[in-house]
């Protein structure tokens, strides 16, 4: 059974892959807001967090990671995470990239789902678009 939920051929499936985390705050918000726009277009959208990506969905980091803005006054990553979650974007992580940071699923914010490498490749093959950051 696929991680994708839709069986409707009219609904497109878009998979974003986020590999960046705390060290690159300027690279953390974009996958969330592009995913938000994708979901607002009635697509099914997931973001897969791997390598440093799980840091984006670790508890407390939404408040800690500030998206820089020239001249100051950057927004918290939390804003973009909540916007995406509210419109139905799903967040996925894999075990090895949790191990990399010493995380368990308890360290992840509510709603994060665990998948493995096989499920990721299966999703990628079934997706209409896979976009990596």
């Amino acid at each position: 059974m696929s991680v994708w939920k839709t069986n409707d051929p009219e609904v497109k499936k878009i998979l974003y892959v986020q590999t960046h985390g705390e060290k690159d705050p300027e690279r953390t918000a974009t996958p969330f807001f592009l995913a938000t726009a994708g979901a607002a277009m009635d697509n099914e959208v997931c973001i897969y967090f791997t390598m440093n990506g799980p840091q984006c969905v670790a508890k407390g980091n939404g408040e800690r990671i500030i998206i820089p803005r020239k001249g100051g006054g950057g927004k918290e990553l939390k804003f973009f995470i909540e916007q995406a979650a509210e419109i139905g974007v799903r967040f996925l992580v894999c075990q090895p990239s949790l191990d990399l940071h010493g995380y368990t699923m308890d360290d992840m914010i509510e709603g994060v789902e665990m998948i493995g490498g096989a499920a990721f490749n299966d999703m990628a093959c079934d997706a209409d678009a896979v976009i990596g950051f």
Partner: protein
């Protein structure tokens, strides 16, 4: 002289930036009945191509895309 389009609902997204206008439009159109028209107003410079793409992807019809008093105005008919 262009025909006047009568909207059923107005959504003012002035001051909002990507992806908020798309998100708000998506929510607003879900509240309408099929055939009803949403007038969406935006100041986001990316809104014209964004709304065209949104309409094409979602199947809701873009009746008109225009500029009015320095703002972008879209009339979207729910499919």
């Amino acid at each position: 002289m262009t025909d006047v389009i009568k909207e059923d609902q107005v959504l003012d997204c002035s001051g909002m930036l990507c992806p908020m206008p798309v998100v708000k439009t998506s929510k607003a159109i879900k509240e309408l009945q099929s055939g009803q028209v949403l007038k969406m107003i935006s100041t986001d410079p990316g809104a014209p191509p964004d709304m065209e793409a949104w309409a094409r992807q979602t199947g809701n019809e873009m009746l008109r895309s225009m500029t009015e008093n320095g703002k972008f105005v879209f009339f979207l008919k729910k499919k």
